[in-house]
Symmetry: C2
Subunit: 753 residues, 2 copies
């Protein structure tokens, strides 16, 4: 663990110095986004230190030839890549003719904050330059959530104690590359570079051999000089266009710029309209001015927080962690475009090229479901419904009937190529159904299943029934050759979680096949029923253990605490075979079942399995600690629950996995919300009632969460001694607290323990 | 199956037409080599049809960045590539100024033969050209096994019925590429191109980022016009130099060329000496003239055949098959350079970039051991001894002690990167020891073990002892997470063959540790003994089955005969997961143990396991049928033995696996010799005596084999009724036939049955 921002704050991210060795992780945590576009916290100025430049536009991607040494039948032809967009955030600063390189400049004071309440980054720093004495630079940046195509920046240079000849260039620059490019190639063609007012640059993803549509993006930029410029010119080159502002600053004088940029894409309009539409959006925004844009944007953020905020009193690190997670999740996805999904790195890095992993359904879905209007959760469900045909093709490719949802995808086409994952990590298919189940339980509305979900449910059940093989010697159905959630073993037989979820998916589909009279052939229904009934589940009644997979007990069983520290993380120190044959578990596997279905398992079972598996778990997936924390809460293991929550909530802020530099673990951030809501608050809605079983960490003064539930806005507040539920909006309702029913009219107060 | 050369012949390969659709496989089977260099049977003339050009120089290779999508710790940084050498075999033919493209020329008659008895390719064809009427082209080619640096060619053009203006260009051309180049790059720099007499071209492998030495190769060529040229000139370009001969041919007149080329490399001398050394070797060879060179080369081949020939009377297809196999094996490797090994494709293709697989020890070793002087087998053993340090590093890389021999290598450095193979296919390590065992048993000479082998044996045993994990619940040692010989399942536990061989390796090492008082710490020896004693071997006494791996009986057990024909081979039609979870076996696995140690298993065990596993076996590795055939012989399953022998012996000639186009399956060719010697002849020498248990296929009139055994040259001849052993050279000896001892003074005649 290494705290990236030493100064803690409940609602802000505060950086007080420039540490060149930590620049990449710092850039990552200072990322901003508005669901439509976003960027890492790269500095405005040139910076020749270690940096990963990254500006991304949602849904704009490139298929790139997959690199594999040994091709396997059925591998996808290409890998999807998020691409680093033309740079519209940069301000090249010149002092007395010399371009300032922040990596080689004497920085006297530095303070950068991201105010998560308002979604704005502000920076103030004082530079000591040889040529122009000390300069104060102030800047700000936000991506508007009021007008999503708009980014807004301010940049000011003030001379403090000498006369400085200053110039600033800012504009649009397509001289960008992906760090993740097979051969270092450019991913953008440039269609237009225009030096008018506004500046205009139109770029288009390069041609590809895979028949994937190309995306064109139009950038329009207007920069206003509010103060100080003596000369302005426009500089145009083949792939870039800049406005250049020059000023002679006496001490106390400043050059102040306001820049507004609009970004429009061919995803939303014809190519031919990009220029005009971008200019029109820009014109209207610019006429409002930066101040008004900022005010509206901030107001929209405040409205979001009203529904989703979490307050942790008495633990500022924990508080900052959860707000950071919520802030980044909402910056990545807002549900307004059902063609989009939640990339594991959001707008904070290139890694995991794809846009949709099953993390969305497994982790993010419950948070969006409970903290916003149902339309947002519906948008996520529709994303999967809309790619059902591709999921069927995908199943066909591995010789199966039904639908297998891809491991990684932009548009339904599988973009991942490790056989042990692409072809064998099947539990992702169940997560799709569990999201439908969650939606239906939480909203009480079966219309999604009736109109859309049933088709997904039937095809996924069909896949499982086909994939399970009958074992006549044991009279049961087995799932052979799978990779469970624990990716630290591959090609195993009968992963418990996978078998369990497969069985459940079939049963759940059959329930609605009957309810909505779906025309499933009787013989097929009979077969499904048989597969579900005879699904092999390896459970030992005596020890209460569910076996993670066949042969797990043959492994050398050694607790993870015995691994020498210098060999951690294992994935960076051990060869793959050693990891595979070890007992070490990358991430929650058996215990995930207890999160998915809290009331289908006894307390004894939960405790026994947690106690058995957690010591073998190295949590080398960001998705792990939150799930274990949630289950630890259910087990009454308060210390474990708290320890694992902190690891989940501050994973990136404290760089637990030493990889924040690549970008934030966006999807797993939802896990810390789950650990709070489903763990500490013990929320459950699978039995038809909204229920809580509060277990607040002892040293927290209070945990406060907002929930949007069936047309109501609720606030729950609790600590170890009492639980309160306040109805902020909507009709009274019944809730259950520790198994006892209560009616909530305005405020419910329940003493605990 | 598709016979590539329809005309059968006991000692020749005969091609009687040019079939453009079958050009690549035909090129492969017409390959020639002399252990030092070799080439596919590319046509002399230009050919724009489907072709894979390939000329290779032994031990000259290139490290190329390995292409993998998802890197695993411990993967090698590079992949070794055999490289297509500058072309010195080509004759560009011009008729009336037009370059002849054999793919677009009317070929009236065509006959090409490779005489395997003499190692020479001859071709005669009549072309019908628009410009010059009919032309008869005759050509020949061989790589001398008398002077290994020499290649010799003849090329003649005769006008048959019109006057033709003819030109022929031949020389040295470095404008070549590998088909297997990541980005289509050139692998050769050109150091010198000289238009003197001889022509000289010196090429050098391009720089690499891996610290691997570059190889320089000097080619010197002298072309003599024996008849008909009116004009001669030399044409030089940046990467090539040619002699050009022009002639005006009246009907019946001919242009005849003789070309001699020397090839020398920096593997054998300083770079600065290449030109002079190459020129000197060439001068001497050329002064002897093509006829004498050919006579000496052919004589050397005849001497080889004297020791290794196999005659099958009454089955010309089988006869041609085994001679083809022996011819190609000896063309690939002759034991004269212990830095070399036997690439799976020899000089016949680029695939499987590495030079040494465990195929050498597992398959080729017994043939070289029994058909040549012991120095050749010793040379193969020394190759492994010399890279022991690298094998220790390799073990260290996966966290193990001792030595793990690489899966694929040129110089000891692992060059393969599929985790399931590189890190998990461990039985290769046992094959190294089995070769030492074979050598010692066959020669009766323990000095190799004493002086060299013991070190390899100890380090390999050390690896196994470290790799085995103790299972306290079952009080045994297990090998978890391995890939057995059957690569159609990966990451399995307790592959029987692997466990069995590991146990044997440890025991065999301990035997010689004691015999030669090797300083093994007592505690370590105790541990080894315990691992060997408690090695888990899953055997069912009732069924006599050895379980291929844990969980094998949970698979859906369906015979391979039920796979629809259009889904074969599975590796080209099924996705990998489906192959893995199926019961289908790529190649001999459990039954390999019966080949490795024929007298350690009972007849009932052999029969039960053959009957159980063979029906699941799809033989999609070229290494499979020969082993099954050998074991079938031991089982007394004559039909299976014969069927599988034919598949092994004619694998490439009949293109059973539909991949001969990539090159020949050189190493697996040795398997058909094994099926004859260890299968049909039932040869065994592990019990201290040379023993035979002859089981000749019924319809063969006679099977005749030569053997070199402890200073003697033997010929065995047998059919279903009688066995004869003739002592051709050396001292009388005792042999055993069907369990009965006999002394062989001159000829032994044993009636059978």
């Amino acid at each position: 663990m290494k705290r990236i921002l030493p100064e803690l704050d409940p609602f802000r991210l505060i950086q007080t110095s420039v540490d060149h060795r930590e620049n990449r992780p710092t850039e990552a945590v200072m990322s901003l986004g508005n669901g439509y576009m976003g960027a890492r916290g790269n500095y405005e100025e040139d910076y020749t230190g270690d940096t990963l430049k990254g500006i991304y536009v949602a849904g704009v991607w490139m298929p790139d030839k997959t690199r594999v040494g040994w091709w396997k039948n059925g591998y996808p032809r290409y890998y999807g890549k998020v691409i680093n967009a033309p740079d519209f955030l940069m301000f090249h600063l010149y002092v007395n003719g010399r371009r300032v390189d922040l990596a080689r400049t004497d920085i006297e004071t530095f303070r950068r904050t991201v105010d998560m309440r308002t979604g704005v980054m502000d920076r103030e720093m004082v530079l000591r330059t040889e040529e122009g004495g000390r300069l104060r630079i102030t800047s700000s940046r936000f991506f508007s959530i009021d007008i999503r195509q708009i980014a807004c920046m301010e940049y000011a240079v003030e001379a403090l104690d000498g006369t400085a000849s200053v110039a600033v260039e800012t504009g649009l620059d397509a001289n960008v590359r992906n760090a993740d490019a097979n051969y270092g190639e450019q991913f953008w063609d440039v269609n237009a570079v225009e030096a008018g007012s506004p500046l205009y640059l139109e770029s288009e993803t390069i041609e590809n051999a895979f028949g994937v549509p190309r995306f064109a993006v139009g950038f329009s930029a207007l920069t206003r000089c509010a103060e100080g410029a003596v000369r302005r010119e426009t500089v145009r080159s083949e792939r870039a266009v800049f406005d250049r502002f020059e000023a002679q600053l006496a001490p106390g004088e400043a050059l102040r710029l306001e820049k507004v940029v609009s970004v429009v894409t061919s995803r939303d309009m014809e190519r031919g309209q990009l220029r005009a539409a971008g200019a029109e959006i820009l014109r209207r925004a610019a006429s409002d001015g930066a101040e008004l844009l900022r005010a509206r944007h901030s107001e929209a953020w405040r409205a979001r927080w009203k529904k989703c905020d979490v307050e942790i009193e008495g633990d500022v690190a924990a508080q900052q962690g959860i707000r950071f997670n919520l802030f980044q999740l909402w910056s990545t996805y807002d549900g307004s475009d059902e063609r989009l999904n939640i990339g594991p790195k959001g707008f904070t890095g290139e890694k995991y090229g794809g846009a949709a992993y099953y993390d969305t359904e497994g982790y993010c879905f419950p948070m969006f479901l409970a903290t916003a209007s149902p339309e947002i959760a519906l948008s996520l469900l529709k994303f999967r419904f809309n790619i059902l045909d591709k999921a069927k093709e995908n199943a066909g490719r591995i010789g199966m009937r039904g639908a297998l949802y891809p491991m990684v995808t932009f548009d339904g086409e599988e973009c991942h190529n490790e056989w042990e994952i692409t072809f064998e990590e099947l539990h992702r298919n169940a997560a799709m159904i569990h999201a439908i189940y969650n939606y239906t339980c939480y909203t009480g509305d079966e219309s999604y299943i009736r109109d859309f979900g049933i088709h997904v449910m039937v095809e996924v059940a069909r896949f499982w029934a086909c994939r399970a093989s009958y074992n006549p010697r044991k009279d049961c159905y087995m799932l052979l050759g799978v990779t469970g959630p624990n990716e630290y073993d591959n090609n195993v037989n009968n992963n418990f979680l996978t078998n369990y979820m497969a069985k459940w998916c079939i049963e759940y589909a059959l329930e609605y096949v009957e309810k909505f009279a779906y025309p499933l052939p009787a013989e097929e229904a009979r077969h499904w029923r048989e597969v579900a009934e005879k699904m092999y589940l390896n459970y030992d009644e005596e020890t209460k253990l569910f076996m993670q997979q066949d042969g797990f007990m043959d492994k050398e069983l050694v607790p993870a605490s015995r691994i020498p520290e210098e060999e951690l993380p294992l994935c960076k120190h051990w060869s793959w075979d050693r990891i595979l044959r070890s007992c070490f578990i990358k991430q929650a596997d058996v215990v995930l079942a207890f999160y998915y279905f809290p009331h289908r398992f006894t307390l004894e079972q939960k405790q026994a399995n947690f106690r058995f598996y957690e010591p073998f778990t190295v949590h080398e997936s960001s998705l792990s600690p939150s799930m274990y924390s949630t289950v630890a809460s259910a087990c009454g293991f308060a210390d474990d629950a708290y320890r694992l929550y902190q690891r989940a909530a501050r994973l990136d802020l404290d760089n637990f996995n030493a990889d924040t530099e690549d970008g934030l673990h966006i999807t797993s951030m939802a896990g810390s919300w789950i650990a709070l809501a489903h763990g500490f608050a013990g929320m459950d809605y699978q039995r038809g009632v909204l229920a809580f079983a509060p277990r607040c960490p002892q040293h927290w003064k209070q945990l406060k969460m907002r929930l949007v539930y069936r047309g109501r806005l609720l606030e729950i507040r609790f600590n170890a001694r009492a639980f309160h539920c306040e109805l902020l909006e909507g009709e009274p309702l019944e809730i259950e607290v520790d198994g006892v029913s209560h009616k909530v009219e305005t405020i419910l107060d329940c003493p605990l323990g």
